[in-house]
Symmetry: C2
Subunit: 235 residues, 2 copies
């Protein structure tokens, strides 16, 4: 990607307030994009991540931070939206073969669909998402082949694409990076990881549990990067 | 499609309470599917269509009728969700080349994404949508090539597909039918079109304007079918 061509252009960045999407936002900013940060309230049991997303967008100078409410809780089917316990042991395989209960059905498809709508309205052709196929939880909608299929569909879906005004690109700068590499990249770009939130099951005070899949991946990443994690954990 | 294979299986049917989606629901029922009706409140200026969708689902014996709230109004960009006048003249070309202001950015992508999530949760592999490439308003996300690309993406997106449990099919039984053919099919299957609502700009009492693109297509369809439209129009 030649940064010269993107300076001043708009990018929609999907943000969960977590480590990956915050790093992606910093990468988009570094490429010269104006940032349009997009987060979702989707009935997740803990909305702390939305506070984190707003702080990260502010810290990285986003033009706008939009929070969209969606009813995934009404659809059900996930430990992240239903009353199902979040597991506290991680299958230590690098690429789990079984998809875990924290998987939210079609979540990235729903998120990217909204991003596509917003991108069309603001005149953006770049949608950034922090999916990662190395240190990830085994969700099907985090894989490169899924992202490529979404991009192909997106370019048949919108007015801007059909009228030849733009070609929508789904940008996944982290897809082949380890958690350690992601953190080192973010630190190079000045991301304050103290603002981010990763835990699936935080305490009422917002402290990370340290034991869920997301906390374990995060801790592993900071250890690999040789950097101290600035957030506080219960355990 | 061999109806014997589908008897008792579940289908998610996207329903707007309009003429096309109500006919699609009757077709799915006729094929032997158990109907899971899915509608959206998306900040559309007139929610009369949601009442119609509930009545149609009830009349066709749906197992469940789910209404999902989404924030398309926050994203903007359409006469159907924003304060932009709905045009009262239709470009009389059969296939308009310019996409009209009533287009809602990425709407079918967002609708189908939710349908995909629900289908996965209830264990359904058939999603029905009433898109039509003959008598339609020129929206890009109503074309067969778009639907095919969505289906391909869907089969890379979900747990059920990746684990080989199911192959998601996006079913578009109306895609090559004229409005007249759609209405004749629906009447054969016992659809009560008096329950349906099509108008983009109804009166406060819920009467159809008779002049917007959707009303004009509907009137043309009933004229072609040689059947009296049971709903009331202002003009």
């Amino acid at each position: 990607m030649n940064a010269i061509t993107t300076i001043g252009q708009k990018a929609v960045v999907l943000s969960s307030g977590g480590l990956d999407s915050s790093t992606v936002m910093a990468i988009a900013k570094d490429e010269g994009f104006k940032i349009y940060s997009l987060s979702f309230f989707y009935g997740q049991r803990h909305a702390i991540e939305l506070d984190a997303a707003a702080k990260v967008a502010d810290a990285l100078g986003a033009q706008k931070h939009l929070v969209i409410h969606i009813d995934l809780g009404k659809i059900g089917g996930s430990a992240l939206t239903d009353d199902i316990d979040v597991p506290k042991t991680r299958d230590e395989q690098e690429k789990p073969t079984k998809i875990p209960v924290t998987y939210v059905p079609a979540r990235n498809t729903i998120f990217l669909a909204h991003a596509l709508a917003w991108a069309e309205v603001i005149g953006s052709s770049d949608i950034f998402i922090g999916v990662n196929a190395i240190d990830y939880s085994g969700y099907p909608d985090c894989r490169a082949e899924y992202i490529e299929a979404f991009e192909r569909m997106a370019n048949l879906a919108t007015r801007a694409c059909v009228e030849g005004i733009t070609f929508t690109k789904i940008r996944t700068p982290l897809i082949h990076m380890t958690k350690g590499q992601i953190i080192r990249k973010g630190i190079d770009l000045g991301v304050d990881y103290g603002l981010t939130h990763s835990c699936y099951d935080p305490s009422p005070e917002g402290l990370a549990c340290g034991r869920c899949d997301s906390c374990i991946l995060r801790k592993k990443g900071f250890a690999e990067a040789g950097v101290k994690d600035p957030i506080r954990y219960i355990s």
